[in-house]
């Protein structure tokens, strides 16, 4: 089938019988319409109410999401600060340990290489709190 699109378009030429159209339209328009102007107003009010409620719901949901996001962020930032404090505290402890255990030894080695025995002993005593 080479002209599939053309054949599909040609089906657009199929039209209803004019007699049917006239009869059907006349019958439909003669049918008592169940709605009145009051029911039309009620229907319009209902549509507006649904739209307003939808808008309010969307706004509420957005606010809730915003609140949750912000509270989540503030919670996260406080967590980050706490973690940072802990790291700094750990570093300080490590420094203290270093200065207490390792640094004196290094210092002593350096002194040992460059100072006379007495000077070295004095410094050692200072470090040891003597």
């Amino acid at each position: 089938m080479k002209n599939l699109f053309k054949n599909l378009e040609d089906l657009r030429g199929v039209n209803p019988n004019p007699d049917f159209l006239h009869r059907s339209k006349t019958e439909i328009l003669a049918t008592y319409q169940t709605h009145s102007s009051t029911s039309f107003r009620i229907s319009q009010f209902k549509n507006r109410l649904v739209e307003s409620l939808s808008f309010a719901a969307a706004l509420g949901l957005t606010s809730l999401l915003f609140y949750l996001t912000m509270s989540g962020l503030s919670g996260s930032s406080s967590t980050v600060i706490t973690q940072q404090d802990k790291i700094q505290f750990d570093i300080q402890l490590r420094d203290a340990k270093y200065y207490k255990e390792v640094a004196p030894n290094v210092y002593m080695v350096v002194l040992n290489e460059n100072m006379e025995e007495e000077e070295f002993q004095e410094e050692l005593n200072k470090l040891l709190g003597k």
Binding site: M1, L4, P16, F20, T31, H35, E51
Partner: protein, 182 residues
């Protein structure tokens, strides 16, 4: 779409029969074609089309102009009416009668439509597609509706409609190729 369609619909909603008559005149042919291709029988298609517009007239207040075009609303009514038609048909027709029934429908359709063999082949092939693919072929390629409109009518995303278009055309071509090779 009609000029001033919104105003015409609003007046029809207030009960002005003449305005609904304008909507009827504008949309009846495309709704009729949609139904005819799906049920393959002129008389049945006329009855169903009449019911679609009667329902539209009686429930026009339920139509909300914001978001959907009027044609989408009519197609939805038509689609549901055709589904009901086949549901009732299924209950009323025994399995043994189905083949004969389909043959009669096809024969009636053949007599009353264009006699060109290609057209006959195409419309017969369309009826072999599943319901969704039939809708897509009719709405997109016969009635020339946009993907957006079809998405609104079929209640699917535009991406899904595009995919369905591709599948429907591919299946239609396969059916036609098979029929030509027989």
């Amino acid at each position: 779409m009609l000029d001033d369609e919104k105003k015409i619909i609003l007046r029809a909603q207030k009960g002005e029969a003449e305005c609904f008559g304008q909507l009827y005149d504008h949309y009846v042919a495309q709704i009729y074609r949609f139904v005819l291709i799906k049920v393959s029988h002129r008389q049945e298609a006329e009855d169903l089309t009449h019911e679609v517009f009667l329902k539209a007239w009686q429930s026009i207040n339920n139509f909300n102009q914001r978001g959907f075009p009027f044609s989408s609303w009519l197609y939805r009514i038509a689609r549901n009416r055709v589904i009901d038609y086949y549901r009732t048909k299924k209950e009323a027709t025994s399995i043994d009668e189905v083949g004969e029934h389909k043959f009669k429908l096809a024969a009636t359709f053949d007599q009353e439509l264009d006699q060109q063999s290609n057209l006959d082949l195409v419309k017969t092939a369309i009826t072999q597609l599943n319901d969704e693919q039939q809708n897509i072929i009719i709405l997109r390629f016969i009635e020339d509706l946009s993907t957006t409109e079809i998405a609104q009518i079929t209640n699917k995303s535009e991406g899904a409609v595009r995919l369905m278009q591709y599948r429907a055309i591919r299946n239609l071509k396969n059916i036609l190729n098979n029929e030509e090779s027989i």
